[in-house]
Symmetry: C2
Subunit: 343 residues, 2 copies
Amino acid sequence: MPSLQDEMANVKARVDALILDTLLPSSSPVPEVDLLYRMMRDYPARPAKGLRPFFCVASCRAMGGRAEDALLTAASIELFQHWILVHDDVEDQSELRRGQPALHVKHGEALAINAGDALHAEMWKSLLRNRDLLGYEKTLRVMQEFSSMVDETTEGQHMELVWVRDGRWDLTESDYYQMCTRKTSWYTVAGPCRLGAIVAGSGERDLEKLLQFGLKLGVGFQIQDDALNLVGDPAVYGKASSDDILEGKRTLILLKLLGLASAEEKARVTSIMSRSRQEKTESEVAYVLSLMKKYGTIESAQRRAKELVDDALEILATVEWRGDAASLEALRSAARFAVERKW
Amino acid sequence: MPSLQDEMANVKARVDALILDTLLPSSSPVPEVDLLYRMMRDYPARPAKGLRPFFCVASCRAMGGRAEDALLTAASIELFQHWILVHDDVEDQSELRRGQPALHVKHGEALAINAGDALHAEMWKSLLRNRDLLGYEKTLRVMQEFSSMVDETTEGQHMELVWVRDGRWDLTESDYYQMCTRKTSWYTVAGPCRLGAIVAGSGERDLEKLLQFGLKLGVGFQIQDDALNLVGDPAVYGKASSDDILEGKRTLILLKLLGLASAEEKARVTSIMSRSRQEKTESEVAYVLSLMKKYGTIESAQRRAKELVDDALEILATVEWRGDAASLEALRSAARFAVERKW
């Protein structure tokens, strides 16, 4: 029996082949346009886990659908991830993406923003191709779901950007969940699982349950991502270590620290976190990290992530699955992987 | 009989009401999200000509369709214009849009890029609403056309950005037409006219003619835009005068100048044009403008624009119109307005 990682790699390979061989333009006789195409293919060609397309395909199969019918939709989910990362990297002034320079670092911000827009449009174009596979009605229902997914994601990204821009530190864990369910949960878990189920023909009752499952698990995924950013091995994880401290991100780990630290520590942490990436010294980043370790907020956030996945799996058990048991088990494994992974 | 300007204003008012009252979200109890919604409504609330939605509705009626059936599509064309302008203004570092500060000047680049993405998604969401009005098949056909339109526009924008980034001045008029047909013609004339015709049920033969009509007229429109940028009244036109010189834009007017100027003048012009906005002095901008006047390249470009509209109108006459003659006449008037307007 193939391992979860093998199954994920298998779906990812099929989806990537679809994206690079069929969905994205490959070359143009106009040299400038050829550069645009190469920029559009840059992030899609970088290695990644493929958790999102896996959720989509596994959910479709667990619901009784065929993997082939979910592939275009899964590829469109990856395209969504690619274009939004191109823009996020500009917005957050991130320097690395999956171990390589971010697209705007290589080509400048103006070209990167425009290439992100071009990729965004390819996502919808790819969804239009569902027509021959899924028929008119389901094609439009899938697009409706993408529309919700983009709405939620841009709202979550906006919330986080405003907090950084306005130097907001008076944030509760509830604020964090509001931001994180929008910014991460929707497009990482809820959307992919619901889309797989929509392709398989699920009704609204199960879709609502998959939404609740996905919102919880997505927050768990983000917490683990934030933890890996601080204590993960950069060679395995692929991002600069402690990048979130440099970017001033309001993670659950940081908010928990602000709730536990002394007034003096809190003042120093928020003063450091409020400065721009360039103004932060290595020892200041190390200081923030040492306090997180002193107060154990990385571990307490990870415990919260484990509770969230347990809650999520309970909800998953109430869905009326009509497909094969192995796919449902793969979905459960992927859910646990999301909060236990090292990369 | 209502004037062209009255008819344009009428369509624009109906489309704007649809966008602001129905299509865009208006408020949120979450203060951060409420700010996002206000940002998304910013450009749509600024006054504009509404040439694009007018082309769409007039083309639909001239082809025998109903104006009501084209309104959602026309509103989506306006949404396209809004999101792409938000991003273009960041990419070109423009400071003003329609006489007011650009969105990124008001809120910072990160929030503006993200708000542009949110608006982009609203365009597709709005197109999904066509389902009940036009049925499944036509809804998807309209979306396919939008997909082509975004592809072409991002390619044209990319070409222009690369020229600026790489300091390219060895450009021919043919390079300019390649860039301009992609960047401007598709979404200003070709797309809107074809979309109106698609809503009315046109076949591919007429759509191909409308493409040729639109590509030519769109270049004429852009030439007039470039001329107004140099010699238009900022109070009427709404943009900072000579902004294109400050941005280093490769307009037909400038390329014609480079073809006529002495070697010494050419060297000085390209040296000035290659500098960033901040590094250009007022007298340097005035020098470039004075050479354009000395060699008459504003007038010769405008003569080219008039030839293009004449060619375009000849093509328009070969389309098999099946609707009312008044709408066809309005379409012709709008075509002439595109290259004769003062704003």
